[in-house]
Structures are given as C-alpha cells and as structure tokens.
Symmetry: C2
Subunit: 583 residues, 2 copies
C-alpha cells in the first residue's frame, strides 16, 4: 500500500508514530508562517502541519498545493495544540517529513463540500467530482450496507440468489421495453427485463423454493424526478406459502434493515384494505405518519339546495387541525393550487371553527348552524380547526383530496423525514379498467392470482374481483409490491383472455410459462421492492437520483459520458437496422 | 406455510410427530399392497407410506399419483423397517394421514434424475425441468454461496459494492457492443457494458478507495461452448495500491473461497512472467497441475542437415513420461490430430527412450546416438519416456505444442478436476500487433499502465513495452485479469495515439475519463474475475452453461422463451428504426 493508515483513523493513541497518508487536499491555510493542510479520503480528514521545523523545500511544496491535489505524505503523529473534538482525528496532526504530489488538480468547477455551490447540471457533468462530496458518498455507502444486510437476512432464511437473464423477450404487457437488435438473428430483438417476473416463477416450477435477486430492471418510460430508465429491484419469490407468510417474512426483512442500518426498532406493521385506503386517504399508498383521515359527507351536506354538492357523487373532507386562522388569501391560494391542471379540482369549500367556538363556512348561504355543527361533529373538530371539503366524481375527488391532505400534512410539519410509518395495503383489485384502450388491464401484472372466492365474478363483474396482492408503503411511498401467483394453466389462460389476448397471442408470448404450469407448478407468490426508493427513504432524500452513482437525467441522458450517442454506420449495417431519423 | 417441515430434515428425533410436507413425486412403487412414494423438494427426499392401515380413498389417491405431481401430505413420522443410511431422512418414513394434490404434471419429456436421458436441446427447451435435477440446482446453490462469500470477504476489506449503469455508450475499442436504440433521443443508441471499466476508474477519481461489483457484462461475439453473450464479472478497483497489494488481496479472496466453499487449503500462489509462461508452456494461461515443460532445442538439433529443423525459427519439445510404448499407429494419430486446421502443425518428430535404454527417433537419418543422448539429457528423460518435438515459427509452434502438452496431460490423467493449481502470470506486454488491422491493440485494455521503466520504449519499440498487468490462472483457465491503470491525462493520450486514435476521436469517446484525470485522479488499479468460469471450475464442469440458470445457445438464442424475436412495427416506429432484413 502507498499508505500506512487512512485519513480517518489516527488518534491520540498513535502519538509519536511515523505514518504515511494518501488523499486529497481539502483545504490549506497559512497562519504566521505555519501551513495547515487538511487531507481527505473516504475514511476521514487529517490535519497536516508544516512549520519552522519543516524542511524549507517541503514548506514550499506545501504552500503550492491546490484544492483536490492528490498527495502522499509521511510524518510524525503529534498532539494538536487546539483540538477539534468533533473530528475523529481532531486531537492529533501530522508533522510533515515528506510530501509527494501524486497528481495535481485543476480548480474544480464547484466546491467539494457537504454544501456545494454547484448547480444540478454542472454536478451531473462532473458527477465524479460530485461523488467526492460526503453526503453523496455516504448515500452510496448506505446503499452498500443495505444490500449486504438484505442478502444476509434472505440467505439466513434459505433464499438463494439466482441471476436471471438481461437479454430476454419483448412482451406487449406492461410498460414499454428497451430492445436490443440481435446481430446473430437479424431482424430479431431481445428486450431488457422490466422485472424477472416470469423467470422467478419458472424457478419456483423448478423447485428452487425460495429465490431472490438484487437486480437491474428497465423501463422505457417518460421520466420524472423519481424515475430512472434503469432501476434496481429486490426481487423475491417463494413456494408453498400463503400471503400471510410473505407479509411476515418481508416485514421481518424491513424491520431488520431499519434495525441494523438505522438502529430503529419498528413496531409491527399495520394493515389496511385497499378499499379502506382509498376511502380514508384517497390513495393506495397513504402516508400514515399523520391522521387527517377523510370523512365522507354526503349524508350531512346533500339536499340543502347547494347544487355543486347535490350533484356530486361524493362530498368528502379533511380537518386541518389548528388552521382556523388561515386568512382568506391563504385559502384562495390553496384553492388556486388545487385548481392547477396536475390536480384539477374545481373548487374548495371550507368551514372555520373559530377559537371562540363559532363555525363559519364558505357556503353559509346553504347551510345553517345545525348543519355546520353536524359537519364539525363528523370530524370531531375543535375550536381552531379548519375543515376543507371537496366534491365531485368519487375517484377524482379522492385523488384531489389526497393531494390536499399531503400538502396540509407538509405545511403542518406532520411529515417528519426521521419518522417511519410502514403499512401493508392488501386486497388490491385484480383488474382496472383503462378508458384509453377500452379494456381491463392487470393492476399488478397478469400473473397475479384472483382471490379464490372471487374467481366466479371474473365473468360477471371483473372490476370487483380482488387479488391476493399487497403493497408495502412507507411514509406514503410504495416500497414494494407483490402477489400470490396463478400456478394453473387454465386460470392463467382465463386471465389472458380477460386482458384481451387471443389464445394464439397468449401462447406466443407466454406459452413457455403456461407450458411450465403443466409440469407440476407449486403454489407460489412473491414480492419486489424498489431498492432505489428504499435507499432514498433511508437516506432521507426526496429523489432516488442521489442513491444512484451515475443516474440519467429527465431525457434519459448520461450527461457525463454523453450517452446515448450516434453509432457507426458499420455497426448499424452489421445489425441489419437503420434509423429513420432525418439527418 | 403450507408445510411444517421440508423434505430434507426429518429424522429419528422426529418420531411420532405429525408433520406436513410439500413437494414433487419423485417415484412411487407398490409392494404387496403397500405404496411407497418418494416426495422431493430442494432440501431432500422423504419416503411416504400408504398401507393396509391407511384410509382406502387415500390409498387410491396415492396410487394415482404420477411423476412430478405436486402434493401436500400430512402424516406421522415412523421408523422405517429397512433403513437407508445414505439418505439424511433414510431412517424414517411418513405414515400418510392426508394427501392433497396441489398440481398434477404431464409426463416430463426426460427423466428428472441426477443422470437424465434428455438430450441437450430438449433440456434447453424445458430448462425449468432440467433445473429440477439435483446436479444443476446444486451448481446454482454453489454459485449463490460463492457470491455470498465474495461479498463477505470484500466487505470485510472495506470494499463498497456500487452499481454502475447498464445503459452506457458504445465505444470502438474491444469487442462488439450490444446497442439499445433510445426512443427519447431518436437516432441515438445506448450500449450495454462489456465491463464497468471506465466507471470503476471514475469511482476511484471520486475517492471511493475500494470498489467492487458482481455485475452482468455483455459482448456481441460469435459464441463458443464457453462463451455467453451475457456473463457475470466480479469487478474490483482500488486506489493508493501497488500491483503487489492487488495480488495479495485477490489471492486472499481466492483462497477464502476455496476454504469456505470447497474446504480446500491452497498454498500461496506461484508467480510467473508472461515471457516465461510462453517459453515454458506456449500459453499465457498454463495448466500447472502437471509439469511437462517445454525444452527449446535449437542448440541441440540445428545444423545437422535436417532442413525442417535447420529452417525453423524454433525447435521445441516436451517429454511425455512413460509413453515410450506408444505404437506407430498411436503416434500417427497424434500427428493427424496436430495437423487439423484448429492446430495446424506440419509434422511431429519423436524420440522414444526404450525401457531397455535405447533411443530411437523418427529422424535417425539426421541424428546420431550422441545427438539423441543430448536430446534426452535436455529433458532429463528416463527409459520409458517419449519425447515429442515440433518446429516452426516461434509463436505458432508454441501454440501447437501447448495443445499437444494439454492433450498428453489429459491422456496421462494429469489433469484431475479435484486438484487446483492457481498461478499468477505477470508482466504482460502492453500492446500486441494485429496483422489484420495493421496496428497495435491494447493486450488488456487501453487504460492499462505501461511499466514506468518501459515508457521510454513506447516510441522506439512499442511491442516490447511491458504492462503492470496480471492474470490469475487456475488449471489452465484464465479466471481473472487486471492491471495498474493510467491516471495521468498525458500518458492516457499517448496510449490512445499508439492505438491509432486521433486526438479528436479519443476526446469524443473517452474525454470524460481524461477530463476526470485532470481533477486529482489517484494512482489506482484493479482486477476482474469471470464469475461464471470461476463457478464452473468450483463445480468441476467444462462449460459455464450449467452454472447459469437460463443460458443461451450458440446462436445466442434462449430456446425456452424463444428469444430474440421479432417485435411489433409500432415499437420500431416509436424507436425510429427499421430492419433491413428482407421479409
């Protein structure tokens, strides 16, 4: 090794030792003829000192060092006169006896500090410099630790990690595939997996019993802040189990991670029916760090002559506790916020429960004191509260009120990043109607099993059929989801039929899986966690971007390496493809 | 769980317990009114018994079970009358009290036994059934265990696993890339990584200090038995180290794996110069499980009037110990074998050292007894030995003799699959001349550092420049390779110049890396192991195919899922590409 120690480990017990360190110049300052240099590596920071006792040439070298120069330095560990007890190495410094510049550095385009002055684009272009900053590196070290703990936990529960292929087959179901032209099979394409779903099910047919994989998956979707074209999944599948077993094992995994990585003991996770989640929170991934549950108000507010309410399918509200003092202007702003196209509410009705006990609403013309008292009672409201009410078509109004609830939760400081509220959401619908294509889509995926007691409804009322499907939600973010799978050819065929596949199409696309079901497929089920998202929650980040070493931007570009890029004509010719983009 | 125990864990200590097992019917036989059924899962095999004491309907069900039916069975653990002490569960059986068929099975297309009757193609199509066989599943469990141990070892040495991107940029150096058209950036393509080389170097620039990743890599090459278009690499990189540190750490990893996975203590690994490996074994990956080293014979055999030898650049031979009894026919066969186009030798000269002490050669016309005595002495040959000699152009004749040496090693039983002979091969040439393109290619890759003392020769004698590059070889198979890298922009530019890049091309393709070198790049180096190959060596297999769950065939096809395949016109249109294959 070029070094005897790292920059994070020397302390008072090393006094008098001659050591060699390697690292980057974090900063350098001259104080009355003495030069102090902070040298940094992954492990920490150590102070070097060059003073009157140091060789003259060496002092000149020391003074000449720029930020981010890479140095190798040898010297004696001495006690500092002014100690910094906040630093692990803060009681010592190194009296430099030798100093070699291993590499120089241009002035970096932004500060390599915990708080940097670099803008997002600049940091993306120089990602390798941004990765030098402690917060980003710590995220990736956290990610490494989480992956290690996940593997340790699952290995101890008899799960085997099996690598499934990356070059697979394009299928019409689900999101858009990335495809890869095959040179050896001209005119044909591989696809990159959106998940190893069918392969893990085949491993169950093979008797692997318990499978997992921490694996890259790919979706060619338009990107948002929290989406990447390539993302990582903790993918798991088990045989001879029930839903209850899966919930227990993966609640165990999640608690193990919180315990070992964040030293937090989580209580056992509450469970909620999908239908209840929609009714009480207007979302299949409620943030239950705070209450502010929906109260449905049709019984109380309909039939009083207010046509908006009278014509609404659903009238529903929340109680923003302690917000009675909101000014008219604040409420107007909130109304405008709700009317933005992303949310699309048409209006907001409120009822103020004054500190003096008076109730005042924005629709006093239609509702008397009794009505408002009933309204307040429905929320168990108290003086100082502000009741916010929306009305309209059920699905839409629930979505809108969900946004409002989250916004009010944020404003009221109820969404603490250091508090963790996990939740199982259960009994998702099997199918959801898609207006655009006028057909049912699988809500989870086509391999999810309907609840046995609901199978009969598949023909009569497909939308009402519930699935043995479950999501793990933490702080309002979906962290994982899974289901008990179909393991019977006939039922799988029936599913494909309901999803609009002809028998021929189903056989062409998924014949290998349905064939496999005829050779002794065991009952099985599984779950997949979004590893990037789980890491971002552990790191207290809003976006997954900074738990990924080299993320892509919203156009799917890696601006550092400048990819994607054009390729040589010869490559296209070998692949027997051409682009149809006009030069 | 549907079961209380697995099929591999019940023994005499469970006598009298009522248990429930789930698994596959391995076999079923009737003996005088008693039905014995072996039920199998990943963990083992347990015998079920249905006899005169069993409920009549249940006995009928038991008799009706076909091979590979999936059953759930409840019963009491009883002692067997005739025990099978070779099986973990061989002292007990289950007196069946309840039996449920969870799924039936068609008759499988081949036997699900350790030795199967299925041909390769059939097994590939029904890979999910082939994976049920113990030997294949055991390979994948071995692979899982190896991956766990690799991660444990590297984590304990401060390596951080960082995921690098799969959608990267196509580069002209190295093998052919798989490419992925970008929908969001029409006319542009991502490439799948042949290795995360540049990213791991950037992580070193970022100060990650020690990185590793077990990662899928991709090469669009024509396939051989031991190549797959996607393969897995143990990819590692370290900063502030010397070659010696890398050899020590990864020798440590390899020994740790042999110790924990195979319970074998390996002695410290011998090291050999590349030049010596070529001279003594004609290969940069010598199999040193056996000696049979080359002896160069120019001094002894030239100038005696035998024109083939007199005109040859190199005369070189091996001593096949104990083969003096080879018949003329056997030697002729060997000669024919050597003349096949794959090897391309022009002839084989031999000298027999008879048991009676006489020396007899195929070129007695030109060589007298003294010459032959000198020849025998050069090999320290003894009575009973057979000296085999080839002559020709140095590189070619070494390759040919390497093939002959390996063949003779195999024939003599010197290549025991349960013996492991690791070897470091050091000091590879930096560049190799490519006749086809009339230019130098990087022998390892363009980021490998020349030895500092050889840099001056880059301009005068590029082919003689040695690299700080090393390979780990086990039993004649290259398991891993790496190098100390260039970390200086000027030297990296010089390398690209020698590889025929214009400065513009170099900047366009690898500008991000060379730019990074200007911001404080530390000295660094690394290594990558072929994980599939390492697993196959541990499993005692010749091919990597059966340490991969879902391998592709020699045309790059997955015959099980029938991939690659054509994709929809709409997909091509969205990607703005079309195929030029004639319908």
């Amino acid at each position: 090794m070029l070094r005897t120690h790292t920059c994070g480990e020397l302390n008072i017990s090393n006094l008098g030792q001659t050591v060699t360190l390697c690292g980057w110049v974090q900063k350098s300052r001259d104080l009355g003829g003495t030069t102090f240099i902070d040298v940094r590596d992954r492990y920490g920071l150590t102070q070097l000192v060059l003073n009157i006792d140091t060789d003259e040439t060496l002092r000149e070298t020391g003074k000449s060092l720029g930020r981010e120069f890479v140095i190798m330095v040898t010297g004696k560990v001495i006690e500092r006169t002014s100690k910094n007890l906040k630093m692990a190495t803060g009681e010592i410094e190194i009296a430099v006896e030798n100093l070699e510049v291993l590499n120089s550095s241009k002035v970096p385009p932004f500060m390599i500090e915990d708080e940097t002055d670099g803008g997002e684009e600049l940091r993306a272009k120089y990602r390798y410099l941004d990765l030098r900053r402690n917060p980003i590196r710590n995220n990736l070290m956290l990610r490494h630790k989480m992956a290690q703990e996940i593997r340790k936990f699952l290995d101890s529960r008899n799960f085997i990690e099996v690598e499934t292929p990356v070059l697979i087959k394009s299928t019409p179901e689900g999101a858009r595939d990335f495809v890869v032209p095959s040179r050896m099979n001209p005119g044909e394409f591989y696809a990159l997996p959106q998940s190893p779903q069918t392969f893990k099910q085949l491993l169950m047919v093979s008797g692997f019993d318990r499978y997992f994989q921490i694996v890259k998956c790919f979706r060619d979707e338009d990107l948002r802040a929290d989406r990447q074209p390539e993302f990582t999944q903790i993918d798991c599948e088990l045989s001879f189990i029930t839903q209850e077993d899966i919930l227990n094992i993966f609640e165990g995994l999640t608690r193990h991670l919180f315990k070992t990585v964040k030293h937090i003991d989580l209580a056992s996770f509450p469970r909620m029916q999908y239908a209840d989640a929609m009714r009480l929170y207007g979302s299949d991934k409620p943030d239950i760090r705070f209450g502010m549950e929906f109260v449905e108000l049709n019984d109380i507010l309909k039939g009083k002559g207010f046509s908006i309410f009278d014509n609404a399918e659903l009238i529903v509200g929340i109680n923003a506790k302690g917000c009675a003092e909101y000014t008219r202007k604040q409420i107007d702003e909130l109304t405008e916020w709700l009317k933005r196209p992303q949310i699309g509410a048409t209006g907001l009705i409120y009822c103020r429960y004054g500190a003096d006990g008076t109730l005042k609403s924005s629709v006093d013309k239609f509702y008397g004191e009794d009505d408002l008292t009933n309204l307040a009672a429905a929320f168990s409201a108290e003086p100082g509260d502000l009741i916010l009410v929306l009305a309209g078509q059920t699905d839409k109004v629930r979505k809108q009120l969900n946004e409002l609830r989250l916004e009010m939760g944020t404003r009221l400081g109820l969404r603490d990043k250091n508090a963790f509220a996990p939740l199982w959401v259960l009994d998702f619908p099997l199918l959801e109607w898609d207006e655009e294509t006028s057909r049912y889509h699988a809500m989870h995926h086509p391999f999810t099993s309907p609840k046995p007691e609901d199978i009969a409804m598949l023909d009569t009322d497909p939308g009402a059929v519930r699935a043995n499907a479950y999501d793990l939600v933490i702080n309002g973010t979906e962290i994982g989801g899974g289901s008990i799978r179909i393991h019977d050819r006939a039922l799988q065929s029936l599913m494909f039929k309901h999803l609009g596949f002809s028998p021929e199409e189903a056989q062409k696309q998924f014949g290998f899986l349905m064939d496999a079901f005829e050779y002794g497929a065991p009952p099985h089920g599984g779950i997949a966690f979004g590893f990037d998202r789980l890491c971002s929650i552990f790191a207290g980040l809003d976006s997954i971007r900074d738990v990924i070493a080299f993320p892509k931007n919203n156009s799917g570009r890696d601006v550092m390496i400048d990819s994607p890029s054009t390729i040589a004509e010869a490559q296209l010719n070998e692949l027997k493809i051409k682009t149809t983009v006009q030069g």
